[in-house]
Homo-oligomer: 254 residues x 2
DNA sequence: ACCACCGGTCGGCCATGCCGACCCCACCTG
DNA sequence: CAGGTGGGGTCGGCATGGCCGACCGGTGGT
């Protein structure tokens, strides 16, 4: 495969840099952060600004991400076939389970949330569509790790970050869990990412049985678990929903 | 101002092209659509794919937008100061008004929705964050047109598209409405975008009193209007919310 | 008043990305 | 099954487009 276009790769790196740091960044910060000459960084930033991918604060001259990214991100969702098919199933699942539902796909070294149904009560919740979850410490992630070789490859050898005392950080333990996931057909994560939160997830396949994503139900340990384990009825609901979405995608052809 | 980086502008054009067409596009379609040589288009697409901005369907070889855009779009929202300040006020406004609340900023020739609070009932609603609304046919748009010279410039001379019989399509009529908006301090749009839907909007300013966005309450004509005009209490709520957000941004310094 | 550092510009050199011809494969089509 | 068509993808040579480092003008701190 021939090489990549230099200026484009650099532009992407700049966008990621701006997305990473919470605050706005100055021209010099960007340039030194990526080891570029100031003039080079400026040229790229200028173009990105013209295209709307980057905005500049008139006072400080510092740069931040631009609105066009939001618009394009929305367009990504509009085209996303998995998400479109899953919308109604996710809704039903949330209602039946009485808990939050996430829909995630593999993206780089994490799970990207492409759909999110609020827990059906009136508490204030923030939409997490577009955010990333760790592969090794969530139910969504463990499903993808278990079935998608690419995901396991991306993750590398660990040890990985521990978010709680229960997070699995060692490769051997994680691979054992993945084997269990494949055997049972579903994954759980009880207080492995956040204290007090437990989740169950199941795989979604496309028409050729390739793993394309996962559904997950997530909620307080007190309501999701029973006697230390995830409630069987929840597991059943999640697996049924996953099968329904897969069927919708055409997985029933075999 | 020196010129833009060619390959970057082209890459942006490709992304917009992919965002525009609802379906996936092939290499040749992209190339001819933008008047590029196939090899050139391929090089850019290859790089965009490596960076995650574009994905390729393994079967058809066709291209679509990539997940990285969703992630970056989310990062844009995270950093967005106006949105962060407005979150809680928008929530209160929706609850008080019993209607949908939108928060919009000027972007190119339209209003980009950066926040959306669902109408506080249990009907199914789709999140419109990241979508665009027309400047000339929405309350949000008319506020921005009235106060932001850039917006008026972007819009050009018309006549503009009519979405309903009540849409304002002529420059003279629209400019008159903008004058009225400036005089009253708020804008309305009754069945100008969608039949049966009416909205009220007010301006949000930053610390230097520059227009940075607008808040809007939107709902069925039957509940929003009274005797052909928008209910005064709603207007008051919206204007109060807009002032509160502006104050939060530091507009009180004068 | 000075200096340090900021964002921004400029011009020359040369690596870089552009182009058009070419390849291979899948799918029609007669 | 041969031939044709159009798909995505590759390649190499030419020249152009973008990179770099030196250079501005303004600003805020000392």
């Amino acid at each position: 495969m021939p090489g990549a276009i230099q200026s484009l790769s650099r532009a992407a790196a700049i966008l990621r840099l701006l997305a990473g740091g919470e605050r706005r960044l100055g021209l010099s910060e960007v340039a030194t952060g990526l080891g570029l000459a100031k003039g080079t960084a400026h040229g790229i930033l200028r173009t990105l600004q013209q295209e709307g991918f980057v905005e500049q604060d008139p006072d400080s001259g510092k740069y931040q991400l631009g609105a066009e990214l939001l618009r394009l991100g929305q367009s990504y969702l509009d085209v996303h076939e998995l998400r479109a098919r899953a919308l109604v199933w996710a809704d039903d699942l949330a209602r039946a389970a009485g808990e939050t539902v996430y829909l995630g796909v593999l993206h780089q070294r994490g799970v990207l949330v492409v759909h999110h149904v609020f827990r059906p009560d009136d508490t204030r919740q923030v939409l997490e569509v577009g955010s990333m979850q760790p592969l090794h410490a969530t139910a969504l992630g463990k499903v993808l790790l278990a079935y998608d070789p690419v995901a396991r490859g991306e993750l590398g050898d660990g040890p990985w970050e521990a978010f709680t005392p229960r997070t699995v950080t060692e490769p051997a333990a994680l691979d054992a869990q993945c084997a269990l996931v494949r055997e049972r057909g579903w994954a759980d994560a009880v207080e492995e990412t956040w204290e007090g939160v437990a989740s169950v997830a199941a795989l979604i396949q496309d028409r050729r049985r390739n793993p394309v994503g996962a559904v997950c139900v997530s909620g307080a340990v007190e309501t999701v678990c029973e006697g230390g384990a995830v409630r069987p009825s929840l597991v059943a609901s999640v697996r049924t929903a996953a099968r329904a979405i897969s069927r919708d995608l055409g997985a029933h052809r075999f």
